[in-house]
């Protein structure tokens, strides 16, 4: 179903009335989730109106808020773009969190090991090393799935914990900044700071994300690789029939999606914190799953959904300050959004069956 919706936006022109309906459903799901969220807020004795007002104001009320949301959206977008590829191939990579940590660690290690590199080389190196860190971590479940048949959902998820503990260890002992009491690495050299767009606080990651949206769409719909990935995802038997090397494609997809998560980690290190810290990600890898699904597994959809969820979190911060509601509410709303997207898809399938 999602494939249909997505196809319709790239100019392959399936029926128009239906595709309009399809595009409407994520918005409907968001509205329903927010309504149900309001009920929960009311149930704990807070005015939903006041809560959402604080949220909207916090997310959209100032240029600063818009900047913050954009920066917050970058890792979500990068990871979810990789997940769009993965989920469309029906490879369930839920290890992006760990892949992000490994990308972040690799990038920090690189920057601290070669502090004297000229900025251009440093940035190229960071991009490469960040990608490699995430890609290698994604390669593990890919190989286990492709050649040993191990369920990648479970293995990729369990590896998250290993990666998180690995980074904890690195910032506590080998990479620890000796001048600090906190478990964190030394500050990265200035050359490893991502350039900022003139006049703003937006770093280069924003541009990278915006470039990658059409790039991923291009791969999916304009290249034989994308064609094959879609066949693998929609009908693995047909893929075998057509002589598509399924294990190879599992590996390609996991390397790309792990790599993009790794770059997200690199950006958090080089663009935001300027050092490796213990909790480098507040669960970007998991939120990105929801982003990809809400975006109907379409790159442009992922862009919108990433910004929406980033605003939701930024808004929730001020909601917590003003009306005292815990930020965890955003997690509930995210889950409800996915459930409503799923439900609306199921209902639509039913309608289609009845209409014929």
């Amino acid at each position: 179903m999602t494939q249909r919706a997505a196809l319709s936006t790239t100019g392959q022109r399936p029926s128009t009335a239906m595709s309009l309906l399809l595009k409407g459903s994520p918005i409907l799901a968001v509205i329903l989730a927010l309504l149900l969220g309001a009920l929960i807020i009311a149930a704990v004795g807070v005015s939903p109106l006041a809560a959402y007002q604080a949220m909207v104001k916090g997310a959209f009320g100032s240029p600063r808020a818009l900047t913050q949301a954009s920066l917050r959206a970058v890792p979500l977008l990068l990871i979810s773009l990789g997940l769009v590829l993965a989920f469309r191939s029906r490879i369930w990579n839920i290890g992006a969190e760990g892949q992000l940590y490994m990308g972040a660690w690799a990038a920090a290690l690189f920057a601290l090991s070669f502090p004297d590199l000229p900025p251009a080389l440093m940035l190229m190196g960071l991009l490469l090393v960040g990608f490699a860190g995430g890609a290698l971590w994604g390669l593990v479940p890919a190989l286990l799935r492709a050649y040993l048949g191990a369920n990648e959902i479970v293995t990729s998820l369990l590896l998250n914990y290993v990666a998180i503990f690995w980074v904890s260890y690195q910032v506590r002992l080998p990479m620890k900044d000796p001048t600090s009491f906190l478990p964190q690495s030394a500050v990265l050299p200035a050359s490893a700071s991502l350039p900022v767009l003139p006049g703003t606080r937006l770093h280069m990651g924003v541009i990278l994300g915006l470039i990658l949206v059409p790039a991923i769409a291009f791969i999916l719909w304009k290249t034989p690789l994308g064609y094959r990935l879609r066949v693998v995802g929609s009908n693995p038997n047909a893929a075998r029939f057509a002589g598509i090397n399924v294990p190879l494609h599992i590996i390609i997809v996991m390397v790309i999606s792990g790599g993009l998560a790794g770059i997200a980690g690199m950006i958090e290190v080089a663009g935001v914190h300027h050092r490796l810290i213990q909790d480098i990600s507040p669960g970007f890898g998991f939120t990105a799953i929801v982003v990809a699904l809400l975006g109907q597994l379409h790159p442009a959809g992922a862009l919108l959904a990433a910004y929406f969820f980033a605003s939701l979190v930024i808004g929730a911060d001020s909601m917590q300050r003003i009306v005292g509601l815990p930020v965890a509410l955003t997690e509930v709303i995210q889950a409800l959004v996915v459930l409503f997207v799923l439900a609306s898809e199921a209902f639509r399938r039913r309608v289609r069956r009845v209409v014929g």
């Binding site: 293995t155 998820l157 889950a335």
Partner: protein
Amino acid sequence: MSWDSLLQTAFIISLITSGIRLAVPVLLAVLGEIITERAGVQNLGLEGIMALGAFAGFAAAFTTGSGIIGLLAGVLAGMLLGLLMGYFAVTLKVNQVIAGISLVLLGQGSANFFYRQIFGVSQRPPRIAGLPEVPIPFLADIPYLGGILFRHNIAVYFTVLLVVIVWVLLFGTTWGLKVRAVGEHPSAADTSGVDVAGIRYACTILGAAFAGLGGAVLSVAQMKLFTENMVAGRGWIAIALVIFSRWHPGLALAGAVLFGLADALQFRFQALGFEAVPYEFLLMLPYILTIVVLLAGGRRGAAPAALGIPYEKE
């Protein structure tokens, strides 16, 4: 501390004892998921169900002062999420992987939200009494073995009993025969007069109830408090152990105890300040062990044939 002290009997006994105790929450989730998956529904939401069960159990135990009521609240919370999973998997027939992942978010998010809202954030989180230790008369006095097996809280005994009950339920009853048929070949079950949707709903709710109980045992009987992310991947480990167990309660017991021992070892080493290995590596141990065990379980050969596939009448 030295290597010698590790090999002392007292240490080993306490290690095994707490290994068994730590295995309980995971074992409950594994048993539940075995029932669910035997009926052909894959519920990946265990991590979230356990989180909500842990919160509900803690909250109920805190309010009523009764650990048992806490456990029951965990069961209830699990059943609620199980019903939701059943609705999406059986009635709406959506992709079960996605539904399961959203259940994780929903369970974790609502547990954290309600905890913060009700109990707030403080340096000294509220604690509860937990469950009393119930030594079994005579047996508890057997040297070594008595301490390991017969000096536990009631949840431990009950869980071991559940292993046997689930075993009999699946392989010794007419209902179990129906469950297995629904998971292997739903249309054959349907044409034999079995209510496929009903069985799948029942198994999904029952399985989630087990996971909810597992979460409640974690907060009520073991930690005696609630913290965010206290489930710490146990729900996912349970899913891996289901595969390792080849969908059989007997092997589930073995897998869960193995996990419990790794967890206990990690705790003990940390508590003893064992410096030779950084504690983060010890923390990794259960997760890595689970992956290894998953690989040892082999391919999906023993999986119910219709696992994760919605049943559509043709």
